[in-house]
């Protein structure tokens, strides 16, 4: 597998949300608008790249029996860094994403890539894998967020194009499940053609 394939596999073929269905908690919770979805995706992508790189560097030094706790410490450190940086430089976005940033620690896609990919591959491929996966995650969250925002609030990227209310259920939790379900079904249908 060359590096280009390694990078692009995160977008459709092994997309964390659409194919692996990992990391659904933040997906369902933060995609109430396109901006929130993208913000969450980018934060997760940053953590993925960082943790994948460091895990790949240390993979041989970490004894097998303590690899999971070690990975968790590495991931948690990166998440805290993102948390502090966002609080300092993008307070508005931090406000809306709130508690979901610390929750990136338990996002299974991050630990999943560390365990399944980064611990067995070179530093460069791991970083590219993290970037591809992270951007694929961002893309899925952005599309889902835009879809829910259009139907639910009648706006996209905070630009209103209809007055009055949208279909409220799409902003609420049930709408997240409905939208994600149809999104996954559609992508699988197209992919299997």
């Amino acid at each position: 597998m060359n590096q280009l394939q390694n990078f692009t596999k995160g977008f459709v073929r092994e997309n964390p949300i659409l194919m692996l269905v990992l990391g659904c908690c933040p997906t369902l919770a933060t995609t109430t608008s396109a901006v929130n979805g993208l913000g969450m995706g980018i934060a997760t992508a940053f953590v993925l790249v960082g943790s994948n790189t460091v895990v790949a560097m240390l993979a041989n030094l970490i004894p097998d029996k303590v690899r999971i706790p070690s990975f968790i410490i590495i991931i948690a450190s990166f998440v805290t860094v993102v948390d502090l940086l966002m609080k300092a430089y993008v307070p508005d976005l931090y406000e809306t994403l709130g508690i979901f940033i610390p929750l990136i620690v338990v996002n299974c896609i991050v630990l999943g890539r560390a365990e399944a990919f980064a611990s067995k591959n070179t530093v460069l491929s791991s970083a590219i894998d993290g970037l591809g996966m992270g951007l694929g995650f961002t893309m899925a969250l952005g599309i889902l967020g835009a879809f829910r925002e259009i139907l639910g609030s009648g706006s996209v990227f905070n630009y209103r194009f209809i007055q009055g209310d949208g279909i409220l259920v799409f902003i609420l939790a049930p709408g997240a499940f409905i939208a994600l379900g149809y999104f996954i079904a559609l992508v699988n249908r197209v992919k299997n053609k």
């Binding site: 004894p63 410490i73 409220l168």
Partner: protein
């Protein structure tokens, strides 16, 4: 390089080292971001104050004082002065009677108690329903009203306030928070 064996010694050493390095990095980032975070919080507060009171020349944050609300709590009052004359008070008020979590508002009053403007600092109400409290359609009905003769109650409770459709609890909580701000300001007197 060969894989490190999972002996007790190796495990202790590697975990200790990883934790040490991680905490050093975190300490560094924390120090680096501490000032910008404080600045961001202060700016947020000042811009909220600016939205709810007329133009001022002092620094309301430095002249902040607390006044009791009469129900065992006290609120932060930010006096806005133009020269030496007080042009308004911004009150950081809150309530826990919302639909979910705390609602925190910045309410601006003229010295006689008339509401100038209100802005929502923090709320976790239902998206698309209770969150509409931050929109002008709802909160602008409080503008230029004096809670002394304008009862802060929704129509369901016999008051004049138009509640948000399907979010009566949130609307009620909003009124309650404003009422608390008014109580604090009036009971605290004119300082």
């Amino acid at each position: 390089m060969a894989k490190t064996e999972s002996t007790f010694k190796n495990m202790v050493i590697s975990l200790t080292l990883i934790s040490l390095v991680a905490s050093a990095c975190l300490g560094f980032v924390y120090e680096m971001t501490r000032e910008p975070i404080e600045l961001a919080n202060l700016n947020k507060k000042l811009s909220a104050i600016r939205q709810v009171v007329p133009e001022f020349t002092n620094n309301p944050n430095d002249e902040m004082y607390m006044l009791p609300t009469g129900d065992g709590d006290s609120l932060e009052i930010y006096p806005a002065k133009s020269g030496n004359e007080i042009v308004g008070y911004a009150v950081n008020t809150n309530t826990s009677t919302g639909f979910s979590g705390n609602i925190s508002l910045m309410a601006g009053f003229k010295p006689d108690g008339t509401i100038i403007n209100i802005t929502v600092l923090e709320q976790k109400e239902t998206p698309g329903l209770g969150t509409k409290m931050a929109e002008p359609a709802f909160k602008d009905q409080f503008k230029d009203k004096n809670p002394g003769n304008f009862i802060l109650k929704v129509k369901n409770d016999g008051g004049p306030v138009d509640a948000i459709t399907a979010a009566t609890i949130s609307s009620r909580a909003f009124c309650h928070a404003v009422q608390r701000a008014y109580n604090a300001l009036q009971k605290g007197g004119e300082k």
